[in-house]
């Protein structure tokens, strides 16, 4: 979760930036001087404070990742090979990457938009009120509500013998699965994934939304701006980096999700994490254990591309914020 923790704090700082820089110039000049001086005064040994975290990251993230990826370059007998990498071009593997990408993109965009709308709605209620407290608490819980529990919840409600399915069929004559049982195929992942994507968006995006100051909209109105200029010229540009940051977090979250899909999909291994499972545990197609390593490399490449695109985008949107 360390990746998302970093991402969350980035989302947080993105809105803190403009909040500091917007007051009149003389005030910002005054605050700029000590801010610049501070790093010079900090002694070198203070970096030692990072050691526990650095060690933790190294031992539990970097080393295992490296070991897992390294297996992609060896065959079953330990000899160096590029066969596993070329296997990434197999149609079944490419199809899995396409499905993974598609599922992640759809649930990330839908989750981000719905989540942002929820945040917008929450601005209207009292920050310490009952509704806000309830939504915050529910989001924190549901954002982590994934895996087998979530899959089971869906099977029990809209599975073939689920409560809702049977009710719809018997009482209203609506057959959820008239065109085939989609819940156990790739489209069936969309609803369960949204179930944790939307709350995650609410948690990560709400701080940025709260950073919008009432005074800005008042200033906009005073200068003759309309409600739409406020959103298009002020609020949206300020929110854009954190919105995109959250979107990326949601994408990564769905892209790496394994347990929910594993509990729902048992045929075909249509997404990459399921292909990795298949390569590791198959009792029929043997000798592909090391393909799992190269599949992981493929996933990391996708994430690196996404991160690079994100930082390039953020550099652009931040230009005017300084």
């Amino acid at each position: 979760m360390s990746a998302s923790a970093t991402r969350r704090s980035e989302a947080g700082s993105a809105h803190a930036g403009p909040a500091v820089s917007l007051p009149p110039t003389d005030a910002s000049d005054a605050s700029a001087a000590p801010a610049e001086a501070r790093p010079r005064r900090r002694p070198r040994w203070a970096l030692l404070g990072l050691t526990p975290f650095a060690l933790y990251t190294l031992l539990f993230l970097a080393v295992p990742t490296f070991l897992a990826l390294a297996t992609g370059f060896f065959d079953g007998d330990g000899a160096f090979t590029l066969d596993n990498l070329t296997a990434l071009a197999e149609p079944a593997v490419l199809g899995a990457f396409a499905s993974s990408f598609w599922v992640s993109a759809v649930t990330a965009v839908a989750g981000a938009v719905i989540g942002a709308l929820v945040c917008y709605a929450l601005l209207a209620v009292r920050p310490d009120g009952l509704i806000r407290t309830f939504v915050d608490a529910a989001s924190s819980v549901l954002a982590q509500f994934g895996g087998v529990m979530l899959a089971f919840a869906f099977i029990a409600t809209i599975g073939i013998q689920g409560l809702v399915t049977v009710f719809l069929k018997d009482r209203l004559g609506v057959d959820l699965f008239a065109d085939g049982v989609w819940l156990y195929q790739v489209p069936g992942l969309l609803l369960p994934y949204l179930y944790f994507q939307v709350p995650l968006m609410v948690i990560t995006f709400m701080p940025a939304m709260e950073g919008l100051k009432r005074t800005w909209s008042e200033a906009n109105a005073t200068l003759g701006g309309t409600r739409s200029t406020y959103w298009t010229r002020i609020a949206m540009p300020i929110l854009a980096p954190s919105f995109l940051g959250s979107l990326l977090l949601l994408f990564a979250n769905a892209f790496s999700s394994y347990a929910t899909a594993a509990a729902l999909i048992s045929q075909g291994a249509q997404i990459v994490p399921l292909q990795i499972r298949g390569a590791l545990i198959s009792e029929t197609v043997l000798g592909r254990e090391n393909l799992a390593g190269s599949l992981a490399i493929g996933m990391i490449v996708v994430m690196v591309v996404m991160m690079t695109a994100y930082s390039a985008l953020q550099a652009r949107t931040e230009r005017w914020q300084r």
Partner: protein, 374 residues
């Protein structure tokens, strides 16, 4: 999340390596003057009684991937426990054959590592250096060709690919093509993903044999499931006793012993019937093997003796699986005749895939399966 899983796997691997290093010098013997790890028959212990003593001294047996409902393993395990007063630790009943080997490698040197394996032939042939050779007392009862000559692996039991169905939900299927009919909409499940599970792959092989294919050409089997999926009849859900009980999987293509077990288990709740289609039948023996690094080497060997004794072999038969010593048992009249009558004689045209045919078939599955059913 897969990063976390990978991390966990790596840590387990690291820990396993570290522990192996620590325990390498530890005493693993059971205290007798026989090195149980090297014993290749009960004679090496000084007879059956000595083997039983050595196994009792160990007191434990670790088995893996043996679901209670699979080929009567629940009863076989408790019969073994009762007879020898040895505790059987059954780990991960639902894992695949490949995972059994992985578990043995990861836990090498720990006292939780599996002692014995129950493996599909492909995995068994691929991991010969993981097994210890052992010949049971009734070695000659096992037909030639059903055992590795030193006893690294031995055929134990096979089922037939069958169609289990809830007779209250669907009509009885008389042929494979019946399953394409509209009364089977969204109802036909296969026990697992054929690119991962042997039972499911056998289901595809049967479909191939029944629709004009052969052991050398299983493409018609893949085509059949593609048609089944296009008709909206294929149910991409992994059937378990629970899904059968709840009615989620009204039709299941699986080994006959699994479908027969489902019928017994759901008696009074589901009207579960099992049918083996006329024509070619597909079977595939599961093998027994001993882990070369078994933490309880004597108990592992006693388990083999028990598994191939008429007592356990008849329990397989009672579950609808054909044990490998069946012919010898019929001859010696030790067979459970009632069970044999219920299961029926072994079909004459039972097709077993050779290792080469299996390899060719599975590489076709790896290439075509995902596309066929999505």
């Amino acid at each position: 999340m897969n990063t976390r899983r990978m991390t966990a796997l790596a840590i387990v691997a690291l820990a396993a390596t570290a522990l192996t290093a620590c325990s390498a010098g530890a005493d693993t013997g059971a205290g007798s003057d026989v090195d149980a790890k090297q014993a290749t028959s009960a004679e090496d212990f000084g007879g059956m009684d000595a083997l039983v003593e050595a196994a009792k001294a160990e007191g434990q047996l670790n088995v893996i991937a043996l679901p209670d409902t699979w080929a009567n393993y629940g009863k076989i395990i408790s019969a073994f426990e009762d007879k020898y007063d040895i505790t059987v630790n059954s780990a991960d009943p639902d894992v695949s054959s490949a995972e059994e080997i992985t578990a043995a490698k990861n836990q090498q040197g720990q006292d939780t590592a599996p002692d014995v394996f129950d493996l599909g032939s492909a995995v068994a042939l691929d991991n010969l250096d993981q097994f210890a050779p052992y010949q049971v007392a009734n070695w000659d009862d096992i037909p030639e060709g059903s055992k590795e000559k030193t006893g690294l692996w031995v055929y134990d039991y096979t089922g037939l690919v069958s169609i289990g169905y809830d007779a209250d939900a669907v009509p009885a299927p008389k042929s494979l093509d019946d399953l394409l009919g509209s009364e089977f909409a969204g109802k036909v499940a296969l026990n697992g993903d054929p690119t991962q599970a042997g039972a499911a792959a056998a289901g595809v092989y049967l479909a191939a044999l029944q629709s004009g294919g052969s052991a050398d050409d299983i493409q018609p089997g893949v085509d059949f499931f593609q048609k089944l999926n296009q008709a909206g009849n294929f149910l991409p859900l992994d059937p378990t006793p629970a899904t059968i009980a709840s009615g989620e999987t009204p039709v299941v293509i699986d080994w006959s012993y699994n479908n027969l077990a489902a019928a017994t288990e759901n008696e009074g709740q589901r009207n579960w019937k099992t049918t083996v289609l006329p024509g070619s039948a597909v079977g595939s023996y599961y093998n027994q093997a001993i882990n070369v690094d078994a933490p309880h080497p004597a108990a592992a060997r006693l388990w083999q003796e028990f598994i191939f004794s008429p007592e356990a072999q008849n329990l397989y038969l009672a579950a609808g699986a054909y044990p490998s010593t069946l012919a010898a048992m019929v001859e010696a009249d030790t067979v459970d005749q009632k069970a044999l009558d219920a299961v029926g004689e072994m079909p004459a045209d039972l097709v077993q895939f050779t290792p080469e045919q299996t390899e060719q078939a599975t590489s076709l599955l790896a290439e075509k399966w995902a596309a066929a059913i999505s």
